[in-house]
Amino acid sequence: MSHTPFHLGVALDGAGWHPAAWRLDTARPDAVFEADYWVSLVVEAQSAGIDLVTIEDSFGLQTSGFGAVELRRGEVRGRLDALLLANTIAAQVPGIGIVPTVTTTHTEPFHTATGIQTLDHVSEGWAGWRVQVSGRSHEAAHVGRREIPVLDPLRAASGPDEEQTALIRRLFGEAVDAIEVARRLWDSWEDDAVIRDVPTGRFIDRERLHYVDFEGESFSVKGPSIVPRSPQGQPLVFVLAHQQVPYELAVAQADIVGVTPHSDEHLERILGELGDAELRVERRVNDPLRIWTEAVVLIEDTREKAEEALSALDELHGRTYASDAVILADTAENVAAQLLRWQQAGLTGVRLRPARLPLDLERIARGVVPVLDETGVLERPRDASTLRERLGIAPAENRYATARPETTELIESANR
C-alpha cells in the first residue's frame, strides 16, 4: 500500500507536560536531576521503536509566560542542561534519535555546533538539535550582553506592533545565522580529511579542511570546527514554529518543522502559511522540509477516564492547563486514529508530549505504537544506522567537498 511514511518523536520534559503531573503517585519528581531517570525514559522509547526523543530546555528557570520568573511553588522548577544530558543518554542508549534543545540567543554558536557534533559522534549518528530562540527578558539578564524588552503576547495579539515584530525578526535572524554557522562548521571537515600519511608526516590533508568565514550581525565565526565531520555529517535540525517569522526560519534552515494545529481547518491554514513562507524565503537545505505536528497526550483505557484524569490534574494545578499544542486526552486507539488522520493529511510525523511521565510515555510505547504498527504507516527500517536514514532523509552532502574543483586540481597537478 502506498502511503506517506510517518514518524514518531516524544518530547521529554520534567515529570511530564502537565504542570501538576509531578504530584501523581507514578511520578518521580525527585529524580528529574538524575541521569538514570532520563536514561530509563529513553530506553522505554527506544525499545518501542520511537524514532527520536527531544529534551526541553531554556536559558533560565521555567516560567509560564514571557515576563519575570515566578518561583511557582506548585510546579517543577529547575533543569539539567539538555545538551549535556543528551550526551549522557546517547552514551548508554543506542539506536534512537536524541535531540536536545539549545537556544541560539545567548549561547556561542561555535560551542553549540561542536556540542551537537560531539553528540553525533557519541550516538554514532543519531543526533539532532531542537533550535530555540530566547525572547525572555530575564534570560537576557543572565548574560548582561544586551537587553531584551518584555514580550507581551497580548500586545502582539491586538495587532501589528513594530517594536515587537522587529525584536522577533532580530532573534530569529540570529537563529538563522547560528544554524548557518553550525551547518558550515559541520561540513568544515571533509569525510576523508584524516589521511595519516607517514611519508609526508601529515595526519590530515589540510586542503580538505575549510574555513567557514561567517560574518553576521551578532557574531562572526572563522572555523573550521575543532570536531571532525560526524557520522551524519549534518545532524538533524528541528524547529517548533507557530507563526510567520519562525515558519521562515524553518523553511530556510530546518529539516523538520513542528506545527501545532488545533483543528483540521487550523492545520490547513498553517500549511498555507508555510507554503507562503516557502515563496518568500530561500531554502538553504537540500532536503525537502518535513512537517510534523505536536500534541500533548494523556492516555487511559476509556476517553471518560482520560478526561477525568485530565480534570483531576487541572484541579491539582488550580486552573485548566493550556498548551500551544492540542491536548489529546483519550484512549491509545483514538490517539492513534488522530495520528493517522494527520498522516493522511500529508504530515510526516508527530512529536508527542506525554502529559505525565513516565506514565504516558509507557502508554504511547505500549498502546499507541502497536496500533500504528498494525496499520503499517510507521516506517522504521530495521537496518538504519543513523537518524537521517531512519527518517528517510538523504545523506548530507558536504557543501565544501562538492564545491572543491577536484578535477581542475588533478589536471593542474598533472601539468606541474
Binding site: 501538576a20 509531578w22 525527585d30 536531576f33 541521569a35 536514561v39 533560565g60 528557570l61 520568573v69 515566578e70 518561583l71 511553588r73 506548585g74 510546579e75 529547575g78 533543569r79 539539567l80 542542561d81 545538551l83 549535556l84 544530558l85 550526551n87 543518554i89 546517547a90 552514551a91 548508554q92 545567548h106 556561542e108 561555535f110 560551542h111 561542536t114 556540542g115 557534533q117 560531539t118 559522534h121 557519541v122 554514532e124 539578564a141 543572565h142 548574560v143 550582553r145 584524516v194 595519516r196 607517514v198 609526508t200 608526516g201 601529515r202 595526519f203 590530515i204 589540510r206 579542511l209 551578532s218 557574531f219 562572526s220 572563522k222 573550521p224 575543532i226 570536531v227 571532525p228 491539582l316
Partner: protein
Amino acid sequence: MTTSSSSKPAKQIHLAAHFPGVNNTTVWSDERSQSQIAFSSFRHFAQNAERGKFDFLFLAEGLRLRETRGLIHDLDVVGRPNTLAILAALAGVTSNIGLVGTLSSTFNEPYELARQLATLDHLSGGRAGWNIVTTSDAFHGANFRRGQFLDLADRYTRAQEFFDVSSQLWDSWADDAIVADKASGEFARTSGIGLVDHHGPQFDVTGYATLPPSPQRHPVIVQAGDSPDGRDFATSSADVIFSRHADFEAGRAFYDDVKGRLDAVGRPRDSLKILPAATFILGDTHAEALERSREISRLQVSPQTAISFLEQVWNTDLSGYDVEGPLPEIDPVVTAEGGAKGRAHVHTDPIATANAWREQAEASGWSIRELVISFAAKHTFVGTPTVVAETINRHVQEDASDGFVIVGNTNPTGLDEFVDRVIPELQERGVYRTDYDEGATLHETLGLPPVPARSTSTVAGAALVSA
C-alpha cells in the same frame, strides 16, 4: 619498601589520566593508534583509567585548530570533541573516576558554564572538575562572539570574577530547596532559591540558577598557569594545580613556593594538590626502556615535525634542510606577527632563541632532530615498572608533588600498560588506592576538604512568589 624512614604515614599518590592531545606527544603513525574522535576511543581511555583507579581523567580544550605560518598545522593529531559534551557522555559509561575538562573563562559566560558544570556534577554523581584557563588572543577569538577585546592584563581578573560569579550561582539554592511534596503541592521552597545579582567589570549577571546544589556543589577547580597571577589564583581558589614541574628539584621548588603561599593565607597544605604532567616509557629492563624511549621520541618528532618546530622560530621555509644535520646558519625572519598560533608558548625573541639552540646543538653534537627531541619528546619516567613506580613514589613522599597527570603517547591505549604494570607496584607499596571509596565524590577521592558551607546570606527572599 617505602622511601620514608620516619614513622609518619606514607602520603597517598593522586593520579590523573590525560587524554592524548593534539600535539607531537601523541604518536599517530603507530598501528595501535585509533580514531581521535570516535566515542569508542574515549570510552576505552576512560574505562582503562578507571580500572587503574585514577583520581580523574583530564581533557584539554579546542577553541580553534592550530596554525603554523598561516596554515592549519597538519603534522600532529588534529580534531577533538567539545569538552563538556564528551565528559557528559563519559559520565554515562564510568562510575567512579573524576571528569575534568579545560574550559576557557574568556570564551564562555558564567551563567551558562556554571550551569553546565553543575549539570555534569549531577549527571556524574559528583565527579566534575574544571580546569579554568584564560585566553586573550584574537586568534582564538575569531570563533566567538567576544572576538578579540580581552587585554592580557585582564586575563586573571576575568577568570577570578568568572569563578566568583559561578560560585554564587552554585551556592544560590539551599540544600533543601527542593521539597517535591506531592501531597501539599510544594515543589521548591521559594525562600530556598536565591537571586544572584552580580555587577562587576567583566560581568553583569542577574537571575536564578536552574539547578539545586549538585553532589559536590562546586566542581573540583584545577589551575594550570605558572605565572605569579596564576599561582595567586590557585592559592585562593583552586583544588589542584596541573604543573609542568615534573623534574624533581624544580618540582620541590614549585611545591615549596605554592604550599608556602597556602600557609600565608591560612589554607591547609593538603587542600591544594600539585600534579605535574609526566610521560613514561616502560621496559622489562632499563636498557629496553631506554631503547623504546629513543624509538618513540623519533616517532614523536618526525622529520617534518622537526623542521616545523624550527620554522616556528625561523619563520621561513626550512624544508630543504636535512634533519639529521646541523641547524640552519641563516637567521630567523623577524616580523611583528609570530609564526605559530594556537599554542601555549610563543617565541618572543627568535634571533636569541636560534642562537641558543645552535649553541646547545653544537655543544651536544645534536642534529636538528635530536635538538627538537630534547625539548619536544623528552620522557619523564623511563625504566622498568618497578623503577617508575619507585620514582613516582619518591617524588610524592619527598614533596616534589602530590602525584602526576600521566600523559600517554597513543590514543586510546597509551595508558593501558601503565595500568597493567605500574599501578600494581604502587598499590603494593601501600601508597595508592586499591579501589575507590563507594560513592565518593571527586573532592573525596582527591582527599580534599568539602566545599565550605554555603553562606546563607546569598539566599535572600527576593523571589517573586505567584499565587
